[in-house]
Symmetry: C2
Subunit: 390 residues, 2 copies
Amino acid sequence: MKALFLLIISIGFLVSPLSAQQALFEESQIISPEIHSDNTVTFSLNAPDALSVSIAGGWLANGESVEMTKGENGIWAYTTESLSPELYSYSFTVDGVKTIDPNQAHVQRDVANISNYFIIDGDEYADLYVVDQVPHGTVSYPWYNSPTVNKVRRIAVYTPPGYESSDKNYPVLYLMHGIGGDEIAWLGTGRAAQILDNLIAEGKAEPMIVVMPNGNVAQEASPGNGSEGLTVPSFNLPNTMDGKFEESFKDIMDFVENTYRVKTDKANRAIAGLSMGGYHTCYISRYHQDTFDYMGLFSAALNNKPKDYSESPAYQNLDENLKKQMDDGYKLYWIAVGRDDFQILRDGIDELKTKMDNLGMEYEYLETDGGHTWNNWRNYLSIFAQRLFK
Amino acid sequence: MKALFLLIISIGFLVSPLSAQQALFEESQIISPEIHSDNTVTFSLNAPDALSVSIAGGWLANGESVEMTKGENGIWAYTTESLSPELYSYSFTVDGVKTIDPNQAHVQRDVANISNYFIIDGDEYADLYVVDQVPHGTVSYPWYNSPTVNKVRRIAVYTPPGYESSDKNYPVLYLMHGIGGDEIAWLGTGRAAQILDNLIAEGKAEPMIVVMPNGNVAQEASPGNGSEGLTVPSFNLPNTMDGKFEESFKDIMDFVENTYRVKTDKANRAIAGLSMGGYHTCYISRYHQDTFDYMGLFSAALNNKPKDYSESPAYQNLDENLKKQMDDGYKLYWIAVGRDDFQILRDGIDELKTKMDNLGMEYEYLETDGGHTWNNWRNYLSIFAQRLFK
């Protein structure tokens, strides 16, 4: 055992001096973040020459940061209060420059922001975000042809545990991201694969395929994965809520139903999305009539109005189509939003609810704590997934 | 169009103040890196309060960094000489703390080091690293059962363009990472999916499946993706070169040959790897006799010696097994290494060559510029892949 250790160390040291790729790597003794048994968390950063170091993270109020304290050894440190179970992102700011934690190798991207993250488990939601020793589904990134927008586009697909070794057909949840997101958003910060693995293992969700499209039809794929190159992710993409994605949705369904072993009846199709994805869910399920038995609107950005794009076929006869959606029938129209979400967004949701009430159209409405955050969207997925295909 | 723009801007602004997830996001006007038409590159960082900012990157000698210059606007800048086509990583150091570029959203991980990267195309190798408008293969992350090490483990699989829509069987390349790497290394810094997409599109490589295992049998998956949690990636893992991975390789082949449409004869199996993965290639192809027609040793770490683990079945009768590998026959035994690689590693490769020469065992040997770097390993994959299954 000792011989192995020495061999490996010698390779490690040998590799360092010559490799350009590995020049930037420095093995460190600092453990950061250190999660203590009482769920307080200590962050540490070796920065003897820095004048000020602060930390921002998901447990603080938005826009807030706290100063870290410099020790005599040049290591700045900060310990939180005891934190509730949740996935938390964080970043340091060193002399005015936002930076990731150089002692932690795990990062996530939200729109254009790269931050570190850690998980405190211990409640029914956060326990779902952890990779457990349960059967795992497969995450794939195939490409599909979308003649509607004249592009070959990337999509993310979760097939449930056992898919490869069975010949069963599975129901499908189409799950959509928000503005500034893309086909990898739900798999990164959204923890969709872990949530589904764990819910299925506990028998709380049916084994299902989860299809995560890229709702920005101006893109082939998430930034860096398409031929557009290493562009900076942005809120300001064209054609995100103008009907083009809704129109092209049949290309996605064609690909999925021709490529995977899926059940192709309405009772085995669900559609959901967060923010802009909730808007997409609302209008896709209304345009592609009699197609989905389950709709999930997570903090839906219904403050945006299709009337600004009245030329799109997806936005014709909106009121009639809503009535027809009701008449065709469905099993669940599920709407959730946080009490602290933007008022304009909450107003948009209230407007839909009023319209549905006036029609006598059924829906379930869940109002939760919190605002327009991934914390809520992960929770909403966890709840909604348990309601499907039963 | 203007209405859309205003709507999106309003969502962007609305989202910022309340969302914990999006608190860290700041849209910026700084473009960094900026690649000019003469292949000089300008990096910029807004850091009015910093005392010193330097940059390190793949175009500099190893361990070297250069000071950036502070402008009156508080933006530090640095422009390189004209760079050769290549994929380059880089990072800033702000008052002693290594940081990524906050104006760039694209990062890669090499062992525990997160850095930004950019690509300068324009030669036969670097052009392969770019996502082009060519047919794309699918990258998947399935899990396989490995009874030999009593774990369910994650693996990365590239299926070539057309796999989903055809019923053809494909040849397989098993492609392995180095020490400190894992199943995602070849897909990140290694650009394996882009290299294969582009070589296949140009008709230079046969459509093939590329299987990228995790060679660290102590891990279920790369750090963060297994039940070990958000561990820091390390050179110092147990059981990496003690025969356990070689023994368990049949579990991988069983999974692949039972799950994918693959050709299962020797003529349609290749195996290759970099550094530790070259060591694995050498001993797997010798232990699993008469199984592979193509071997690729990229900067193989043959300075490590199986004799330290003489109890492993994979390391019995090594000389006899090499002789038998020769007698069984194969199409290509390909060995490549950089002139500036570690002498101890080059000595290990020379020792194998001498042994093969003494046996009269055929191989091809390629010595290139450069050292123990991803630049070389990407090139070696590009060359080796063109030699397979023809």
